[in-house]
């Protein structure tokens, strides 16, 4: 095992979250590798600091305050529009996204995506937060294919 691999797992070694085989391998590496054992020491120092960290406490009535606010707002859970979409099928959603993107293709796809993500990361975040990832991923795969095809034609 080489050092760059070992270093990524020192954190888990310190937490005791490695499987036995990997743990033994890493431990025997550390026995002779000065660099990695030094790394482990440094990680442990910082972790001790994290273990000692203190948080102010929440007030006793926090939960009832949250529930009060929810009831007061008479907020009700929003309908999940993605669920509705998924009823119409993956290809429909993908087709919709493709149509949307195709409108911008003449501007160059990359610029459009960059502008959307940079100007309003919230939108992207929201899409990822609420859309079932399998639908999104399949949609994106299809979009990528189409974009590749367009690129080839150019």
């Amino acid at each position: 095992m080489d050092c760059s691999f070992i270093k990524l797992y020192l954190e888990l070694l310190d937490r005791g979250q490695l499987n036995k085989e990997l743990e033994e391998g890493i431990k025997s590496h550390i026995d002779y590798c000065k660099e990695c054992s030094q790394e482990l020491e440094e990680i442990r120092e910082i972790n001790n600091l994290f273990n000692e960290i203190q948080l102010p406490s929440l007030p006793m009535d926090f939960t009832s305050r949250v529930m009060g606010r929810i009831r007061e707002d008479s907020t009700s859970p929003e309908k999940n529009i993605w669920q509705e979409f998924s009823k119409w099928g993956v290809s429909f959603v993908a087709a919709g996204l493709i149509m949307f993107l195709l409108n911008f293709v003449s501007f160059d796809f990359n610029i459009v995506t960059l502008t959307i993500t940079e100007k309003n990361p919230d939108i992207i975040n929201k899409v990822f937060e609420y859309a079932p990832s399998n639908i999104l991923n399949r949609g994106f795969e299809q979009i990528e294919e189409i974009i590749e095809n367009i690129g080839d034609r150019r």
């Binding site: 270093k7 990524l8 797992y9 020192l10 954190e11 888990l12 979250q17 440094e42 990680i43 120092e45 910082i46 972790n47 001790n48 600091l49 994290f50 000692e52 960290i53 203190q54 948080l55 102010p56 406490s57 929440l58 007030p59 926090f62 939960t63 305050r65 949250v66 529930m67 606010r69 929810i70 009831r71 707002d73 907020t75 009700s76 859970p77 929003e78 309908k79 999940n80 993605w82 669920q83 919230d122 975040n125 990822f128 937060e129 609420y130 079932p132 990832s133 399998n134």
Partner: protein, 190 residues
């Protein structure tokens, strides 16, 4: 009643089950929010906003990931939004006195002062890290999530999470050393 049943009954309109969710996750969410706001009152407000948001969007949880992954993803996004909206304010924020929940109640004033200083150094060092390092570090240490769970929350491969945690911690150490330098406390710190 197990978690899945509770979520289903919230989705069917039984608001009282949400109370259980708040109780169960409030401290974890609060510790994340505190990591971003560094102020217990602001963190309380943010935690409240996160729960309201979670309740409103409960129908978008369809079991495509574990509930806690979904919950932390919503919480993390709200925290990052908050930071973006409050950039100016953050530049002038110092840790407030507040009530510290020290585990050992019989510590003296000197020990108390040292701990407070340690807290402050660590939170400030964390705050100065780039977002891509700060969030996984907080999820790992404050929420006790595994690499795999963090990967799911952040939508990154586990290997990338491992790399970010490693680099983030190295950078955090450098920041702590440069902040602590010339400070008598530094020897007590590490």
């Amino acid at each position: 009643m197990d978690l899945e049943e509770r979520i289903h009954s919230i989705q069917r309109g039984d608001i009282s089950q949400f109370e259980w969710i708040v109780e169960e996750y409030k401290n974890k969410i609060f510790s994340l929010a505190y990591g971003y706001t560094k102020d217990s009152y602001l963190a309380q407000d943010l935690t409240q906003d996160i729960f309201v948001r979670l309740y409103k969007n409960i129908n978008s949880f369809q079991g495509q990931s574990s509930f806690s992954t979904w919950l932390y993803r919503v919480a993390k996004n709200q925290c990052i939004d908050w930071t973006r909206r409050n950039k100016k304010r953050m530049e002038n924020t110092f840790l407030e006195e507040g009530q510290w929940d020290f585990k050992d109640l019989d510590i003296g004033p000197e020990e108390r002062a040292i701990r407070k200083e340690k807290n402050q150094l660590l939170y400030e060092a964390l705050e100065s890290l780039p977002e891509k390092y700060r969030t996984p570090l907080m999820l790992f240490h404050f929420q006790n999530l595994s690499y795999g769970e963090i990967a799911e929350v952040l939508d990154l491969p586990s290997k990338t999470v491992a790399t970010h945690l490693y680099r983030g911690k190295k950078l955090l150490r450098e920041k702590l050393i440069s902040k602590g330098r010339g400070d008598m406390l530094w020897t007590a710190l590490l």
